[in-house]
Amino acid sequence: MRITRTGGGHGRRTATLATTVLTASALLLTGCSSDDDSDSSDANGNITLKVADFGQFGYKEAGLFAKYHELHPNITVQEETTANEQDYYPKLLQQLNTGSGLADVTGIEVGRIKEVVDTQSGKFADLSKTINVNDWVSWKEKQATAKDGTVIGAGTDIGPMSLCYRKDLFEKAGLPSDREAVAKAVAGGWEDYLKLGEQYKKKAPSGTYFMDSASAMYNAVVSSSSQQYYDADGKPVYKDSQSVQQGWNLAAEAAGKKLSQGLPQFTDAWNAALRKGTVATVACPAWMAGQISINSGDSFKGKWDISRAPGSTAANWGGSFLAVPKSGKHVKEATELVKWLTAPEQQAAVFKAIGVFPSNKGAYELADVKNAKLPYFSDAPIGQIYAEEAKSIPEAVLGAKDGVIKDTISNQINNMEKRGTKPADAWKSATESIDKALG
């Protein structure tokens, strides 16, 4: 490579070049991308249905797509999974806006369903004729119903709450370790849970913490209430919401007393803590059990157990829907697929495979659910625990920005735990960020 130096004009040329480059780069910021539409059917009537989802829906693990292909030899199902829902959702909105790149079936998380119902319902097929909404737990399908009565999503799972805890650590710390005894110790609610934490801390095995993250406890508290971040008219009321205040105060207390390791959930550090076995309890929506067993690994098998949530509160944390965009080429086939995937038998199969709990009531009567025990968690009778709880979960009022509000508050709780931010300052930052998000 040889570059010959130029003479006096260089400075000006540099300036011109700089201007060009910066213009070009400013423009790059506004660039966008689109997926190409591959042809999804051939001459023999064989079609490929694309299912876009995030995290872990469990269909692959339960072998359901292969089974569907056996039942319908002309249909092949392809799954496109985005690991993080936070990356998945903006992409979905973009695809809905441009009308290109959409899958035939798309997953939608409960934290987003309200926004999708309010702003995008016209872009999804109405499932009210295909599925019987009364098959689901009463509030689940209401969340996916638009004002005009169209149902845009079929419920997949729900997240009834329990408490996952390490039996061996509890024993070492001199706490009761039997699941009934633990449930009794925290029967008074989350305040009791913190008291148990203080007891644990006194004799805690070195290097271990009572809980993984106070934000998880906060979320558990909020999700047990019908009023969370919005009121029934769709106005954000998180500042005055009682459940938010209660959850926040409890989290601040846990942070102040250093009962928590202060790890944001689902981060590398959190995974590592589970692998090393440094946390004694995790607030445990049904799907969390799968996360714990994957991350903790074989060495902790049988050392975990599951008891009822503190105060036996019925709460729902998480859960998703499957929706069919209208613009797809195979809306009819996709609708059939959604109906089949969310039917009791299939939901039970997914529950058996990865432990996410069915939202279809019919599944609760099936042996796979009713008698389900988790070997990893010392054979905890999770089917019984959750099915009972699912009946009494309150109908939560959802809001458009629930997801962002939850994440922002969780992050500030983590600042209290990890950086020692004062609760008042953390709350102020949280409200500033949230107000920006509500915009």
């Binding site: 570059i3 130096r5 540099t14 400013a26 506004t30 590398d268 550090a269 590592a272």
Partner: protein, 330 residues
């Protein structure tokens, strides 16, 4: 560049043509010639301007239009005129100013060491070396890796829990640093990624410029008894001045758009807000979060324009400094 285009305006009829017939055809052809002469250049340069218009100017103006409207991610087809509200919103947002500060701080602590090291490396490579092509290729390899790869690997290095750096540090009695969580440690970590990636590139540019410095200058200097260090300071550096200015401009633009490294240092939710207390949030991250995570495209577009204005300001300062330097050199 001194090239001359043949003047075709004066049409001379081909030899052998006779009389009135060729005369009428002649004026027509003459006009065609003249038209060709006037229009063709535009056709030649048209592709650039068409592409620039479609992918450069149009998005720029459209971004400006969005910046003056309320446009939501959930309903891109609807927009509502809000005037300068979006700009007011971001300028009153303390997070914006945090992002501006972070961008400049990271820019400085990554650019300055980077260019100094590059200068040193280039100087070393300028000596007669065995396998010099090999070394020159080697220092360019970091530049050939993608931002994402580099950032993800360095994220493992800087991890609080089981990161390589902390593991090394624990032999010296340290090693409990949560790099991504700290106000300064996170910025240093990001700077290290940038320095690693760009030093070789800048070194090669300096090297190319150094090789263009006439050798008789060095010979004269050594006859005068100048040491190596004096030669470097008194001959190499002044000759490299325009090149140094160029690399500063390019690095400044690069650091202004810093995105991948901070996004991926901790990743996930934390990455998209630039750390739990925005300790390493850059302007691009702020823009991304506002537009894509919060779904408000108006303020995000306003941020894009604010970045453009900041860059123009920097370019202006650079230009003034450059002029001043040339004047004082003369």
């Amino acid at each position: 560049m001194a090239t001359t285009t043949p003047a075709r305006g004066a049409y001379t009829p081909p030899p052998g043509g006779t009389g009135a017939a060729s005369n009428g055809r002649g004026t027509w052809r003459s006009r065609l010639w003249r038209f060709d002469d006037k229009a063709s250049p535009y056709a030649y340069i048209a592709p650039f301007f068409l592409i620039f218009g479609a992918f450069g100017l149009y998005p720029l103006l459209y971004t400006g239009w969005i910046a003056l409207h309320r446009v939501e991610m959930t309903s891109l087809d609807q927009s509502q005129w809000v005037g300068w509200d979006n700009f007011a919103k971001i300028l009153q947002d303390s997070e914006f100013w945090t992002a501006v500060t972070n961008t400049f701080v990271i820019g400085v602590i990554s650019t300055v060491p980077q260019l100094l090291v590059a200068l040193g490396l280039a100087h070393l490579l300028n000596y007669k070396l065995r396998a010099s092509t090999f070394w020159r290729t080697v220092i360019l390899t970091p530049y050939a890796t993608s931002v994402a790869t580099a950032a993800l690997v360095f994220a493992l290095v800087f991890r609080a829990d089981g990161g390589i750096l902390n593991w090394v540090l624990h032999f010296f009695g340290a090693g409990n640093t949560d790099w991504g969580n700290g106000e300064w440690t996170s910025k240093i970590a990001i700077s290290v990624i940038i320095i690693w990636r760009w030093t070789g590139y800048n070194a090669l540019i300096y090297l190319a410029a150094m090789q263009a410095v006439p050798t008789d200058l060095y010979e004269a200097a050594s006859i005068d008894g100048a040491s190596r260090w004096q030669q470097f300071r008194k001959v190499t550096i002044p000759s490299l001045r325009p090149t140094i200015l160029f690399t500063i401009v390019i690095s400044t633009i690069g650091s202004m758009q810093l995105f991948g490294e901070p996004l991926l240092l901790q990743g996930g939710t934390l990455g998209s807000i630039g750390g739990s207390e925005h300790q390493y949030e850059t302007l691009s991250i702020y823009l991304f979060n506002y537009g894509w995570k919060l779904g408000h495209l108006g303020p995000a577009a306003a941020v894009a324009w604010a970045m453009l204005v900041l860059l123009l300001l920097i370019a202006l300062i650079n230009w003034i400094v450059g002029r001043f330097m040339r004047k004082s050199a003369a």
